[in-house]
């Protein structure tokens, strides 16, 4: 036992010379070869291993977020790889840094209002309490609305179906559907629950703290960004992107001919 620093402790993992324990599970005997990477994500976010339905659901959430092609994050990853080809981890980290309020904030925002609602109460009234301040402030409601997919977002609906198929139905999805309905009524247009709203609601059903819900996206995108580094190694795009952007950005200067 250490007598050096007191007052800090972690319940995540501890080791002896013969054993690594993670949230109480022996790494070699209970986890490696027994559970998947997605299950480890669930374990990190909730402190316990998922049941079979929870595992299917959580993996589906992450799978839906792994890859979206040439996003700003993926481009940042590729440009970083170009400058630091020996540091795959730096390229992935650069891409993750763009997972802020613009792209994953709505997962967090949706999970937050779902978790702060009284889910044992009247969902119509709870939804009204959520919708009103956003409408009054003329702000977008996180997780609600889509420019193309309406009245329903097929990715959101797919996730809701998986939730039901795994016997995990709960008040979270009816609540967010009611939020979308009331918002649409207030604004006079069709507003679906979109995929980030679905993930926020389902994460809440799975017991994931909204303050870490953004982490579902971070886990998933880290997986995808590694693929972009690999493709950049074999088939580089960064030199072309650099040249084209630089030329375009300075083409209006007379000195640039």
């Amino acid at each position: 036992m250490s007598d050096h620093i007191s007052g800090i402790r972690s319940e995540i993992s501890w080791s002896t010379s013969s054993q690594i324990t993670i949230f109480g599970h022996d790494l070699v005997d209970d986890l490696v070869g027994k559970v998947g990477l997605g299950d480890m994500g669930f374990l990190e976010l909730t402190g316990r291993l998922p049941g079979p339905g929870e595992s299917a659901m959580f993996n589906a959430l992450t799978v839906s977020l792994v890859e979206h092609g040439m996003t700003p994050s993926a481009i940042a990853t590729r440009l970083t790889h170009y400058g630091a080809p020996d540091s795959l981890q730096s390229a992935v980290a650069a891409g993750l840094l763009g997972l802020g309020s613009t792209f994953v904030g709505s997962i967090e925002g949706a999970a937050r209002y779902v978790q702060e609602a009284d889910l044992g109460g009247d969902l119509e009234a709870e939804a009204a309490k959520i919708v009103e301040p956003f409408v009054a402030a003329r702000k977008l409601i996180p997780g609600i609305g889509h420019p193309i997919h309406k009245p329903l977002d097929p990715r959101a609906e797919r996730l809701f179906t998986i939730l039901d198929e795994n016997g995990l139905s709960g008040p979270q999805v009816p609540l967010i559907r009611e939020v979308a309905r009331q918002a649409g009524e207030a604004l006079g247009k069709e507003l679906p629950v979109n995929v980030t709203g679905a993930i926020g609601a389902i994460a809440s059903r799975l017991g994931i703290d909204w303050r870490a819900a953004r982490g579902i996206g971070v886990m998933a995108r880290a997986v995808g960004l590694v693929g972009h580094v690999l493709e950049e190694i074999t088939n580089p795009t960064a030199p072309t992107i650099w040249r084209e952007v630089e030329e375009a950005a300075s083409s209006h200067h007379s000195g640039h001919a």
Copy 2:
């Protein structure tokens, strides 16, 4: 079709208004709810979905790397969260930045020499070609040796067992075992294949390019580091670490009382 930038292309993913395709698979119909997060990692690293045995093996590799408790990476993540509590992604990125040559370099190094060997040739001779330059330069061989676990590293052995159980045996593991045997003989001590060597050899068996092998660790640790942010939110350690380190580092200055 764009006529704006020519000469760049990506085969990873493309989208239309109704469909996202990832390495040729429809995201909603073929991936979400059908495969796990680890399978997506395999897909990103090889361009194809794993067979059942490959899926089990690849998930086992990543699971073995997700979590090691209060590593330098985890501490960096926690300290970063303290300064930027609104940016979970920054805290995870800071932790990933430490996954360089010290910790994941040996996966890459082991995968490299396994992939550069002639696996159809005489493994004893191939191993000798690998071992000799390291021994001559008095350098550590990536993936070989462990201060405690000898003659065998139980985590490495567990992974090798999973490989065999899934019918995936190949020349990669015999080669790296022969590398360890010859290195031990040359240096007169017992040298096991350690867990990073095992991962490097098995990744090679799975067809993962050594230049991206470090990415297995990056994917896995991103999952684990999210858990450290969450624990830091609920039970902070950073203020204590800061205070203790600062006091210790400046305690020798007379002006510091």
Copy 3:
């Protein structure tokens, strides 16, 4: 001229084969050897070179922020260097990621309310408009108050003196002093303008947009964090920090003896 991408342009810098122009200044003829690094920071933040007094003032702001010893950022930098010793830039980046709302947010917050005030109006009334919502919400006012330095923070006072000595006095400092006075009156205790409040007010005087005011700290700390990497190379602290934190964090587990 490029006909590839249209609609993006940058006024910062453009190049020909013989010349690099930065905000209209020739790099080799007008900047290198003529201005200092701090002046370049002023140029990046305002689009113009500083006058002599502005240069002295802006350099003083940055100098006050370069170095604070073993901060959470500096520790994160050192731990990252330990894992990725070949990537000095990664270690510095990891440290910068902690410069979020906890440490530099108050510069931004103070600069914001100073810049949103009507500086041609009655400063007492303007200060009241700033103070009231914070007091009503029982929130700290950015840039106001210090646990030790009261009634005055010597670093803030030093910066104000430099401003006056350089003939740059303006309504910004009287306004923030009045904010501190009214806040102290409302809360019944002595509240000084602290160093981050001083920087926010002075940055406003220098014409620096509050949305980039955090960048003064980022520029400055990047300089300091390089020094921490260098000291870590010659006299490592990361292995000890790691060992002590890991032992402390897991010392309560019975399996850890």
Copy 4:
């Protein structure tokens, strides 16, 4: 005095409730308002304040590196800002992560061979020892050669002039000029000392450890990248870059119309 962690110490900075000391200098009395940001960089890299000539020279080195327009780093910074607009520090950090071997490695490489040479010896023989292994391995020599600027690189020559004007001439510049001459002779073409070679040689003259020479670029670019965030706030380019790159990368897919 702390009795908690022993064995770590830092000589960079320490604080009491009334004083911050940096490399032995009182922050408020001796540094703020007395020295510039560039001088702080010199202090961090050498442990002492520069003399006037050293200050002019070091500032010139950094100024030459602050800004190069729409580099891959600057584009990564801008794309990251788009995703995480509340985290200026993340956007800058993302850009810094690309300052690896491709762009700043040659400063480090040049500084290394200058510092490993016997500067009191015969410079022609020392240069030969440097050049031969590179030529034998058909590798580029760091800091030597330029596609356009030959026989001389005007930025390098400008920096050498500043060195001489400040009375700081030494064997480092003659050595690297001789390296360039011999390399050109061996390869049969005109090879100038380029700007990164000049910086590596001059940094060596100033006593900056080659292992931290990359840090000169990191300090400088951090200053420049803040300017790119600010311009991105006021005149965004990231949405256009994203759209154009995504369209171009997927335009060859038949499903993409």
